[in-house]
Structures are given as C-alpha cells and as structure tokens.
C-alpha cells in the first residue's frame, strides 16, 4: 500500500470538488474492495476522500412511487428494508446471495456498483492486464478463463463485473444519481452506467473525474414474481458462474438480466420479449454475440438452463 492523504468531506459537492481538485484522489466509502486493491498496489490513490459523513444513508420514497436509495446505505440495510423486500424482492435476493454478512454490513450501494472485477490476472501484478495497466495486454485471454466473461468482452479484456446487486438493479431499470464538482446533478440509467471494455477496459463506467454517486433510484414497483438464482461451485461466498435476475408476470412475460457473464450486468431488452417462447429463445437473443473461451462456453448453456428452471417454477 502506498502512503496517501485522507480527508472526510462534509457535503456531496465538496466531496466531488475534493476529488476533482486532487490528482490521483479517490472516494472511499465501505472500502471492502478498494482497501484490498490498495494493499496489492493495484489501486494507488494519493488522496482519499471519505464520504461516510455525507448523510446519504437513507431510503426514501420518490414522488413517482419508487425509492431513492442513498449511496451510503449498506448492502445489509438495503436488503433488509421492508419496502425493498416487499416490492423489489429480486434486489434483496441478489444482495444476500453475495459476499458475507460482515462484508455486506460494510459495503455500500454506490460502492457495490463501482467494485472492480475479480479476474485473477487483474489481481496479480506480475501478469499483463489492460484494465490494471492500459496497453500491457491481457493474460487472461488464453489463460485460466473459466470464471470470465462470454459476452460484451473484447480483444483487450474478458473480465466480468462481479456484482450481484447490480444485476438486480438492471432488471429493475434503476438509475444512478450523481453530483459533480460544480454541484451539477444527473441521473444515468443503470444500463448505461457501466461501459463495455472495447480497447479501453480501464474505463469501467461513465462517471467523470470527481463525479460522486449520491443515490440509486428505483421506479415504481414492477409487480410480478421476483427471482434471483445464483449458480456457483460452492453453496456460499463465491462469485457467480452465472446468475439470473428475473421479474416474471403471470402471463409469462417479464424481464431478465444475467450476471457473471459480461463486463456489466447483462440485459438485452429484445431477449425479454422472448420470455414466453422459453429460456432457449431468450438466451439465443441475449447471447447472440457471445464469444466464450473453451473454458467458459458452458456458461451459455448454464444461463439457459438456469433461466429454464426459473420459468418452470414460475409456471408451477
């Protein structure tokens, strides 16, 4: 870990200004991912702006009938919120499928969206990684890629986004609210928040330097049956091989997003329209552009079969 300076910001705009005004500065909230990366010197911020005093830790109802989730709401608090459990069950189920109780107590809503890939080559600084060191190459391609992405990847990077929560937010059509150093706010649909790697895999989202996530908003409850099915090699405390977040209606229509397969929560709206035609029809559309490796080609089959199980249970 490199030495860094530290401050605690008082307002969101001041936090944004502090990061924007200091080269190499980063925000820190729960720190569950950032501190690990700093120990390994994968992240080497020169200055940390701690946002924990900003008061953005409440869940409020919006005038549109949805919820505004403060960026500092812990994963535990979000999953346990009565309104979330009642109206957005897929979100609760996704959150409790991830990490451990201790980590969820510390991890925040905004931080969860910003966590970085768990690609093992990203984590090993002896290995080439375009995400960690732009232009150095990708050791994962042609290497141990069983866990890595099958769709939305590029010649430069095949990493996945590791979040469960974000997959549920994607299926719920959530949006990310931000503030920048000038105090200007905007709202970005979660589907447009994460970038695909292309030839710049180190750029993972659309945030500008210093731009701070202040909240995640959920539109009014979508109804339907909420399912999150996470498939992994052990029963708990592992990242998804494949996960499926689904909201299914009684008539068989609905929406679906996939985790563990792509550099961002993977949802193809045209695939949603295929739900009444069965899992195969959905995944053929959602994974039409898949380019798996020989080690992770099973993920496409697994996505289809996992969705099939969900559809089957919804019928029963």
């Amino acid at each position: 870990m490199k030495a860094f300076t530290y401050e605690r910001a008082r307002t969101p705009a001041a936090a944004a200004a502090a990061v924007a005004g200091h080269k190499g500065a980063k925000f820190i909230a729960g720190g569950t991912n950032l501190l690990d990366l700093m120990k390994l010197e994968i992240e080497t911020p020169t200055h940390l702006v701690d946002v924990q005093d900003l008061g953005l830790d409440r869940i409020e109802e919006t005038t549109e009938g949805g919820l505004r989730i403060g960026t500092l709401v812990s994963n535990t608090a979000l999953a346990a919120d009565k309104r979330v459990r009642r109206d957005y069950g897929v979100l609760t189920r996704a959150i409790v499928a991830g990490a451990s109780g201790q980590l969820r107590n510390k991890a925040t809503t905004g931080g969860n969206l910003l966590q970085r890939t768990r690609c093992p080559y990203f984590y090993d600084t002896n290995q080439a990684c375009n995400k960690r060191k732009p232009g150095s190459g990708c050791a994962a391609i042609g290497g141990f890629s069983r866990q890595l992405g099958v769709v939305g990847t590029s010649e430069a990077c095949i990493a996945t986004h590791p979040s469960d929560m974000a997959v549920a937010l994607r299926v719920l059509d959530a949006a990310v609210e931000t503030v920048d150093a000038q105090g200007k706010t905007r709202s970005v649909p979660v589907g447009e928040f994460h970038r695909l790697p292309g030839d710049t895999p180190h750029l993972e989202n659309v945030l500008q330097p210093g731009e701070l996530i202040t909240a995640v908003t959920l539109p009014k409850p979508p109804g339907g049956r909420h399912v999150y099915h996470k498939v992994r090699d052990r029963a708990s405390y592992a990242f998804a091989l494949v996960s499926v977040a689904a909201v299914l209606n009684e008539d068989g229509s609905g929406r679906v997003a996939f985790g563990g397969v792509a550099p961002r929560p993977w949802r193809v709206e045209a695939a949603d329209a295929q739900l009444r035609n069965g899992a195969g029809a959905v995944t053929r559309t959602a994974f039409a552009d898949a380019r798996p490796t020989h080690e992770n080609a099973f993920k496409v089959t697994l996505a289809e079969r996992t969705l099939a199980a969900i559809i089957q249970e919804n019928r029963a």
Binding site: R118, P120, D124, Q127, V231, R234, A235, L302, R305, T306
Partner: protein
C-alpha cells in the same frame, strides 16, 4: 522402550480416562483468544521488526537485476536481504526447491528477497518498490504433456508385480480400463506460514508454525550451517497444517536472514496471495486403473498406474499405495511415474497417496460393480482380504473393513439406493447414493517424552509433539492421567518446544498413537520411580484415584515427590511388528448427493463414516478430526483445484477467494461411527491413526453418489457442474 511383541494387558486398558470424550484441555485458551500463534508471541528479547517477502514474478528463468535502492531509502526500512547479500545458505534435505531463490528462479513466487522495516506497512510498501528484472526461461508446466517422459522410481515407490497381471487381465470375464485425473490442490490452512526469528550470538531461536519440531530444528541448522544445539524451535499452537507445515519453509528462513541483517527479532507472516505458489502443494495425478474379474465378481487382476510431476529432485504422489493392500486378487500391478515440472514444489498434503489414489480407485471399483450388476457394497465385501495380497504370508494386524461396509450400509439406509442411476428425484433435484472404502496405513514413529511428578501431585508432560488442531494436548493429558491414576486436571502438557524430547510430530496420521506411546513409555518409568520412592514393588503397584497401592498399603501419589520432583524420560521405539503384520486403518464412507437437474449444481445431503482404527483415544476429538477430514473430501470432490496457467507456469487462483474450499453451507449432517477395537499388535495404546482415514475415500463416495444421481460418469476431479451439465436431462 521397544515395542516388539503384541501388547498384553496394561494400565491403559482400564480406560477410565482414555477412550472418554474429554473436552480439549486447550479449548478455553483457543476459544478465548489466549492461545498465542506463531506471529503473536510476546516472549522475544526485543521489539520485532517486520519482514515482507518478495516472491518471483516468473516461474522459470533468472533474475538479471534487482534494484533495491529506492526501497532502502523508504521510511522505516532496516534491511533488504536477497541472494546477493545473504550469507551462503545450506539446504535441508526435506525441501526440493531452494527457500531463497535467485539469481536462478525455480518456481513462481519463490522467495527472492525480504524487506525488513519498523512496521508491516512500511515493509510491504518498500517491497513493492523493489524492481526486479528477469530473463524468462522455458519451463515445463503441463503434466499431460510431460507424461510420456515420466520416469519409474525405486525403493518404496518402485513398480510392483504379483502373478501375471497382463495375462489375467486380458482373459478376465469382466474388464475395466479407465483413466482418472485429480488436480493440483493446496492445504489452504487458516494460519499462514509465520515465524518470529532472532539471533543471540550464533544461536537462532524461532517461534514458528510447524508440525515437526525435530525436523524443523535439523533443517534450520542445515540451512544456516549451525550445530543443531544452536537452534531453538517453538511451535506450541498451530492454526492448521495439513502437511503444508511438515517442513521448513521460506517464512522461517527469511525471518532469520532478516533478523541477522538488522540485529533484531523479525516477524513474518506469509501474505495470502503468496501462500499458494510459494508453498508446497499436492500434485495433480493421471491414474490408469485396470481391473479384471470373473463372472462371480472376484477380482483376478488389478493394476494401478499413476503419473505425477515435481521439480527436479522431487518425489511422486504415491497414489497407488492403497491398491497394493485394499482388495484381493492374485495378479497385480502398481506403477508410479514421475515427470519433471517447473511448477511450485509438490509434497505432502492431507493423506498423501491414499487420498488421491482412492479418489480414482474407488470410482473404478464402483464401475466394475456396475458392469457386474453387483451391489458396490457387496462387491467390496466379496473382494476383502485378511492378508497382504502381495505377500500372503503377512496378515493384517486387524482388519474390519467388511464390518465398516455392512454396518454403514445398514445405518445409512443403503437399501433405498436405486441400482440404476438417474432414477431418484426430489422435485428439481436428482438424488443419488455412493459408497467408497476408506483405507490408510498406520505408521509408527519413534517418540520420546519427559514426565515430571511434583509434590503437589501434578504430572507435567514435556515432549516436542505438536497440536495442529487435532487434540494432541488432550490425548496426551489423558494418557498420562490414565497411567498415573490421576484425573486429567492433574496433568499439565507442554508441547512444541525443541528443548523437549523429540516426538513423532504431527503427520501421516502417526501423531496420536506414536506420541501417546512415547508418553506411555515415560510414564512406565515414572511409575517405577514413584513406587520405589514409596517403598512399594513397582511390578505390583496400582495407580488409581490419585493413590499408589501395593498389597495392603496405599499412599498419595504426591507423597512420592515429597522429597523432590521425580523426572522420567523415555523413548518409544518400534520393533518389527509392522513388518510381520500389515498395520492399516479402515472405513466406509456413505454419501447422499443431490444434483440440480437444471443447473448441475451438486449439494451433498448426508454423509456417514464408519471407521475401524484401533482404540479411539478420545471419541470427541477423533470425531472432530474425522468430520474435518470428510469436509476436505467434499472439497476435493466438488471444488478444490489449483488452476494451472500452462503458459506462465503458476497457480492462477492463488488466494482464498479463488481457491475454493467448502463453506458451512456446503456441509450437511455428518455421521461418524467408530467400531470398538483395540489393536494389540500396533502399540501399547492399541490405537492407530484416524485423522486422515476420515478423508480417504470421501471424494469417490461423493463422485459415485453424483453418478448414481445423474447417470453421467465424471472421472476428472473436481466434479464441477460444467463437466456434466451438457449430459443432464434435456430441459423443457
């Protein structure tokens, strides 16, 4: 004392304390955080500095430049030690790779330097500022590719031939010829390698985490070219070893080098990301098994060949070990082949030999039973042997495999198993049952102990035996209590110190029987001395209830030490009973597994182990060992695998997020049954090893249960869902 004739009756047979489910005597220390582990000791001559190890960034090649200038200028840095400036080191006989590499690099994350600083953070920060340049060499990292060049071995690893295997196999009515693979695995113990080292003049002391104190002392002496009496090793508590801590490792060597360089104690805990490539591991195997039987199901030919790899000068995974002894059959073949690989060092891990060997053999047995249309329990029972099949004149000292299988089948409800696979369902889940035999040899090791009787009637045991979480403290206290007629509370046990008599140490499931036998021997001497002090005939004196009784006289045991502490020391040595009788431990593992018909996820639902391992010294600690071992078996069956990058030659998933071991949610109800045994040909304790037995066979029992559930036979471990997904029932 030499154990060379079967044990007659002795004080242990009273089993007032031995055989009782005594709570761990060190349990409170551990559960309240008061048991100090290697990194935590305060008993050091000065405030320790912190060392941070730098591991090689390539697998094979040379260091062409190491720039330490920037690191040395950083705050708090006291020293940077590498092969360039370290004293010339000797090499111990037990590790294959050099523990300090450079300029030649022999494997990934081989220690190349240690940075010592005032704080851990300063040391880590400076270590990242050391710039190393390499010239990459060509390494060999792929066992399958290296297999054709693998070589036969000699000594105990030499090929064995009995009868005419090829002929008998060729003419067998039923034949199986299959190949199985097991992956590289890591011990993944909770406590990392850790050492605090310091020098006083030319004497080296360490607090470390090591299973074998006497070996460690010898290896440290060889490495630093010291007379052994100049080395003091202490390791009273160990947070898991699993074979990874049998040998001297880089943490101790680098801490001692750092301490020498800065003239202060230095502490090092190996960072987790370095643990899996810096350390030893269980090597991958490719195993070919051929079994031929008559139509009656009797094995006529059994052949087992296994290939594994290691660094030049290393050894094989002895995966054919159990096949020499487990089943009858007149015509036999075993062969080990060793390939040279430039992966990190292969060595002992969790029941080396039998654990991966049975993972293959016990699937093969299941496959033959199916070909025969015979129940797999019955097939195993039919092919039981009471003698060493390679040397029929040699009986087993005691062998109750059949009882384990039959008793287990009854308890487990084996009759509910469907013979045809893929026929039992519970909603979305495919259900199956599997069985495997458990087998692990008993090994006895020379073991010494010192016992002291003080005037307050307390007996203190001193031996360099280790407790790696197994319960050594407790069973040693029970042994001394039984021998001296005391309650456990009147016994103090001191372990893990090289100034104590050398014990068997912990490994190869030899620790419990051997170390308690050493304590038994010392206590026999102490009884004699105590009786003599009390003026009683040692031959007839009885020790019970804190008293010594002979004829119509009795006295408090404490009175024997009134005129001064009595000290007795003795070594248990072993005669040739292990040659005359094959000494092994046996068991049967039963598993019920569920496989999600859609996703292919496997969840183990029930497990049962029935064990025949001689006298069980403490059923509570023994059960804990067995359920831990069964958990390792589930890990090996379903998830544990070091992923090899065959281009760059390293284990890619080198932390506990990537290298998955079971979590609580993976482990269902585990039943453990011990048959009531006492094996008088093994030791005066009449006990045998049991810890590793609990692992041997579990993997195959899981694999056989998964097959019974799905009808898809997977022969490559671990059985992750991708290996059977495409062959599961079609989905709607």
């Amino acid at each position: 004392m030499k154990f060379d004739t079967p044990a007659g009756s002795n004080p242990i047979d009273a089993m007032k304390v031995i055989g009782q489910a005594v709570d761990r005597v060190d349990g409170k220390l551990k559960t309240t955080g008061q048991a100090p582990y290697a990194y935590e000791h305060k008993d050091v001559p000065a405030r320790p500095a912190y060392g941070y190890v730098i591991g090689a960034g390539i697998a094979k090649g040379r260091v062409t430049a190491m720039n330490t200038a920037e690191a040395k200028r950083m705050p708090g840095v006291l020293a940077v030690v590498s092969a360039e400036n370290a004293q010339p080191l000797g090499k111990g006989s037990m590790n294959t790779a050099k523990l300090l590499g450079g300029p030649a690099v022999d494997h990934y994350h081989q220690a190349l330097a240690v940075v010592v600083a005032e704080s851990f953070e300063q040391a880590r920060n400076a270590a990242n500022a050391v710039r190393i340049e390499y010239e990459r060499g060509n390494g060999r990292f792929d066992l399958a590719k290296a297999k054709p060049g693998a070589q036969p071995l000699t000594g105990s690893d030499a090929d064995t031939h009995t009868g005419d295997f090829e002929g008998a196999f060729a003419s067998a009515a039923v034949q199986l010829d299959q190949t199985y693979t097991t992956p590289d695995q890591n011990h993944a113990m909770m406590e990392p390698f850790a050492t605090i080292a310091w020098w006083e003049d030319d004497a080296l002391s360490v607090w470390t985490s090591n299973q074998m104190i006497a070996w460690n002392k010898k290896e440290l002496a060889a490495t630093f070219k010291l007379p052994p009496e100049k080395v003091h090793v202490r390791s009273p508590f160990i947070g898991g070893g699993f074979g990874g801590k049998l040998f001297l490792r880089a943490d101790a060597v680098m801490a001692a080098l750092g301490a020498k360089a800065c003239g202060r104690p230095v502490k090092i805990a190996m960072p987790r990301p370095l643990m899996l490539n810096n350390a030893t591991h269980r090597p991958a195997t490719i195993q070919r098994i051929r079994i031929g039987t008559g139509k009656d199901g009797r094995i006529t030919a059994i052949g087992h060949e296994s290939w594994s790899g290691d660094l030049p000068g290393g050894g094989p995974e002895s995966a054919t070990q159990q096949t020499k002894l487990l089943y009858a059959g007149a015509n036999r073949l075993t062969a080990l082949r060793l390939a040279e690989l430039d992966l990190p060092e292969a060595n002992a891990m969790r029941a080396p030999g039998e654990a991966p060997g049975l993972m293959a053999l016990e699937i093969a047995i299941d496959e033959v039973a199916e070909k025969l249309g015979m129940d797999p329990v019955r097939f195993r029972v039919l092919n039981d042997t009471q003698v060493d099949p390679e040397h029929p004149e040699r009986p087993f000292s005691q062998r109750n495999l059949v009882r384990c299988l039959e008793d287990g089948a009854k308890r487990f409800g084996w009759e509910r198993r469907q013979t045809r696979p893929g026929k039992m369902r519970d909603g979305r889940w495919l259900i199956g049952m599997g069985v495997a035999a458990a087998f692990r040899n008993n090994i006895n090791m020379t073991s010494a102990a010192r016992v002291r009787l003080s005037s307050d009637g307390v007996v203190t045991v001193e031996t360099d035996m280790t407790d790696i979480g197994t319960g050594s403290y407790t069973i040693i206290a029970q042994t001394a209590a039984e021998m001296m007629g005391l309650p456990v509370e009147k016994v103090r046990v001191k372990l893990g110190d090289s100034s104590f008599p050398a014990s068997a140490g912990s490994g190869g499931q030899w620790g419990a029987n051997s170390s308690t036998s050493g304590v038994y021997a010392a206590c026999v001497k102490l009884r004699e001395a105590a009786a003599q002090r009390l003026g009683m005939d040692p031959a007839t004196a009885e020790f019970a209830d804190g008293e010594v009784r002979a004829g119509n006289r009795s006295a408090a045991l404490a009175d024997a030490a009134k005129s001064g502490e009595i000290v007795a020391e003795e070594t248990m040595q072993w005669g040739d009973l292990g040659k005359k009788f094959q000494q092994s431990t046996f068991g049967a593992h039963f598993v019920e597994a569920a496989v999600d018909a859609y996703t292919g996820e496997t969840r183990v639902r029930r497990m049962l182990a029935v064990c025949a391992a001689g006298r069980i010294l403490n059923p509570k600690t023994a059960r804990s060992q067995v359920i831990g071992a069964m958990t390792m078996g589930v890990g090996g069956a379903l998830m544990e695998e070091l992923a090899v990058d065959k281009r760059f030659g390293f284990f890619v998933n080198h932390d506990l997020a990537g290298y998955e071991v079971p979590v609580h949610a993976d482990i269902p109800h585990q039943g453990v049954v011990f048959l009531d045994e006492a094996d008088d040909k093994v030791s005066p304790m009449k006990a045998k090893g049991v810890g590793e037995l609990g692992l041997c066979g579990v993997g195959a029992a899981v694999a056989n249960a998964v097959y019974n559930a799905t009808g898809v036979r997977v022969r490559d471990y671990p059985l992750t869902l991708d290996k059977h997904l495409a062959k599961l029932p079609a989905i709607a």
